[in-house]
Structures are given as structure tokens and as C-alpha cells.
């Protein structure tokens, strides 16, 4: 898919995300792939905070906020309601943050996958609880500083969400990056054509929380794939495919060093 295949209209417009926000690009592009007949479901997090500013609404398709833990359950309910009313050709898509997905929303997501509900769940991963001020989540990578891991950075590895949803029996899952939108768009389109529970995990850098410039988020997201930090993968019918192998693993160190969140003061450095 390329820019020409998109719906020319904007469905997520005028939002109040920080300049250069990767998450807002992930939401904007997904809706331009899915089109008007889409209900967007967003738990508490940056994208709901910047999209629903009463009395303003930055969504031009149907969209609603859910309690933090409930994104997948609310999606289930909307999908069931649409079916009960015989409303055809409407998709239910979720946009949840990393905290809302890998931590607090995990059991709701697991339930929806277990029931085989016909939903497309998209996790935009900015690798911390950004909306409340950059706290560590289960998807914060090892070594990244947050306001709750302020000195040495996170001591824990990043949870492997793709493996988790695959183990739960998801119909389709893929990783994506806002640095490679053609790949992301293709995966959304593909997922939209599959019946059952689908999960797409898109790396969406946050300039505010990562300590990078506003014009660097797309570049960083692309580089994360190229250096092997964030492989692009797909899982369907029990098989994994790698979409793009790391093209310049030698740049991994440079990739880490250019991000403020990985800068550890000398006195806190170990070995």
C-alpha cells in the first residue's frame, strides 16, 4: 500500500498531541486505511487525551473512550451490538497504549482473543505511560529512564506482546513501525480482511518521553527496525514471518545513544 491508496479525508485531525507525536501518526494512518465505517475505541492514554477535548472532537468517524483496563471488552460489546442490530460493514478498531495493553488491559485483551471476537486491536507503543508523565510500563525497554526508573533506567526486559497474543490464540498478529508506513498500512488492510481477533503492535516514538527532537520520531522508528531493536514480523495460521531483516545492526549503539532516555549519569552506570 502507498499514500495513493489511502482515503484522502482525515479522520483524526486537529488533535492536541505534541508536535512530532508518533502515536498520533499511527492513529491517523490506520483510520485512513480503514475508512469512515469504523468505530475507534480508545482507553485512557495520550491518544484519548489529545483526541477528545470536550466539547471538541478530533475524530470524524465514531470514536469513544473506555476505562483504562477495558478497551478490548468495550470493543467486544460494540461489535456484538452492531451484529445484533444487523449493521453491516462496520469495523471496530482499538488504539491502546503500551501500558493500556501490556499491563492493565491485558486480561480484557486475552478474553477477547479467547472468545474470537471480530476486532482489530492496535497497540501504539511509546514504551511508557506517557499521558501521566512517563512512568515505566511493561513495554519500557531495559535501560530506558522514566520518571519511575529515573537513575539506572528500567531493570526489566520488554514484554513480548506478539508472543503473548500468539500464545492466546490470536488469528493474526504483526509488529509494525511508524517509520515504515507502507508495511503498517498493508498489515492493517490485511487484518481488516480477517475474521476474528487481530492484534497489531506499532512502535510509535514519543519525542517528549524519549528525549529526541520532534522531527526525529519517524527516523528513530525506522532506525529501530534497521538496527534490529524492533523487528517487523507477522504471525498467521501458526507461522511466523520476518518482513524485514535488520539492515545495519552495526548502528545499534548510535541508535541508543541519540535518545535522551538511555543516557545514564556516570554515578549510576554499572560495569
Amino acid at each position: 500500500m502507498s499514500a495513493r491508496d489511502l482515503d484522502a479525508r482525515e479522520f483524526f485531525f486537529g488533535h492536541k498531541a505534541c508536535a512530532g507525536c508518533g502515536g498520533s501518526l499511527a492513529v491517523r494512518i490506520a483510520l485512513k486505511v480503514l475508512g469512515e465505517r469504523t468505530v475507534a475505541v480508545l482507553p485512557a492514554g495520550c491518544m484519548s487525551a489529545v483526541g477528545f477535548n470536550f466539547p471538541q472532537l478530533a475524530f470524524t468517524n465514531n470514536a469513544l473512550i473506555t476505562p483504562f483496563a477495558a478497551a478490548a471488552s468495550v470493543m467486544t460489546g460494540i461489535e456484538a451490538g452492531l451484529r445484533r442490530r444487523s449493521v453491516k460493514n462496520v469495523r471496530v478498531v482499538g488504539f491502546a497504549g503500551d501500558g493500556g495493553t501490556a499491563d492493565i488491559g491485558l486480561q480484557a485483551l486475552s478474553g477477547a482473543i479467547d472468545r474470537g471476537d471480530n476486532i482489530l486491536y492496535i497497540c501504539y507503543d511509546n514504551e511508557a505511560y506517557m499521558n501521566t508523565g512517563i512512568q515505566k510500563s511493561g513495554l519500557t525497554p531495559h535501560g530506558a529512564r522514566t520518571t519511575t526508573t529515573p537513575h539506572k533506567g528500567s531493570r526489566r526486559p520488554k514484554k513480548d506482546m506478539l508472543a503473548i497474543v500468539a500464545a492466546n490464540g490470536v488469528n493474526y498478529t504483526a509488529s509494525a513501525s511508524i517509520g515504515y508506513l507502507d508495511d503498517y498500512m498493508r498489515k492493517i488492510k490485511k487484518a481488516a480482511g480477517i475474521t476474528g481477533a487481530k492484534y497489531i503492535h506499532v512502535l510509535a516514538p514519543c519525542p517528549t518521553g524519549w528525549g529526541v527532537n520532534t522531527d526525529e520520531t519517524v527516523e528513530i522508528a525506522r532506525e529501530a527496525v534497521d538496527v534490529g531493536f524492533w523487528p517487523l514480523r507477522e504471525y498467521e495460521n501458526g507461522t511466523w514471518i520476518t518482513n524485514r531483516a535488520p539492515s545495519r545492526p552495526q548502528d545499534l549503539e548510535r541508535h541508543i545513544k541519540r535518545q535522551g532516555r538511555f543516557k545514564i549519569e556516570k554515578r549510576y552506570q554499572e560495569d
Binding site: 502507498s2 499514500a3 489511502l6 485531525f13 486537529g14 494512518i29 475524530f59 508506513l181 520532534t214 519517524v218
Partner: protein, 96 residues
């Protein structure tokens, strides 16, 4: 800052016409993208990668909603987008 499309009357319901009340973000900017249409080959990459959808498919910038992040300038393979200081455009900034 006055809102651009504020209705005369306070709304009574939470159900608005979608997209209707969105206030502009252009005043957040300290730099603005200026596209050199001679160099531009209309590949659409800036339109695609703008997080704010502030560049149209026909490649014109909506300065009411562009936040000046600079992603379009970085993504452009033709070097057609220059980021210029907003202060140079101060007079255009005054609101009616």
C-alpha cells in the same frame, strides 16, 4: 486565544457534528515548513508522514493545523521542504 469555529450558543448535548469544533494548533509553531514547488515531485511522502494530516494530498500545508514538527522536511527526498523561523512570518500571524 479566540476559538475559530465556536458556535454562538453553548451546546446542550455531548453529540456534536464530528470535527466541527476543533480549534487550530498553528500557534504552537516556532518554525514552519515551506515547500519549494519547483523541487517537489509530488511523491506524497510528506502528506503520508505528517502526524497532523496538515499537508493535503495535493501538497499544500494547512498552517492552521501544522505544529512545525519538521518531519515533512526530514522525510522529503528532494530537499523541497525548508523549515523557516516563524518570527519571519509574524505579521501573518495576527488574528482577526
Amino acid at each position: 486565544m479566540p476559538l475559530k469555529r465556536l458556535p454562538d450558543k453553548a451546546p446542550e448535548l455531548t453529540a456534536f457534528e464530528a470535527g466541527y469544533l476543533v480549534s487550530p494548533n498553528g500557534e504552537w509553531r516556532s518554525v514552519r515548513p515551506v515547500i519549494d514547488m519547483e523541487r517537489c515531485v509530488r511523491c506524497g511522502q510528506c502528506y503520508l508522514y505528517c502526524p497532523d494530516g496538515a499537508i493535503s494530498p495535493e501538497i499544500s500545508v494547512d498552517y492552521d493545523f501544522c505544529k512545525g514538527c519538521g518531519i515533512c522536511a526530514k522525510i522529503c527526498g528532494k530537499g523541497a521542504v525548508a523549515m523557516r523561523k516563524e518570527s519571519d512570518y509574524a505579521q501573518l500571524h495576527q488574528r482577526k
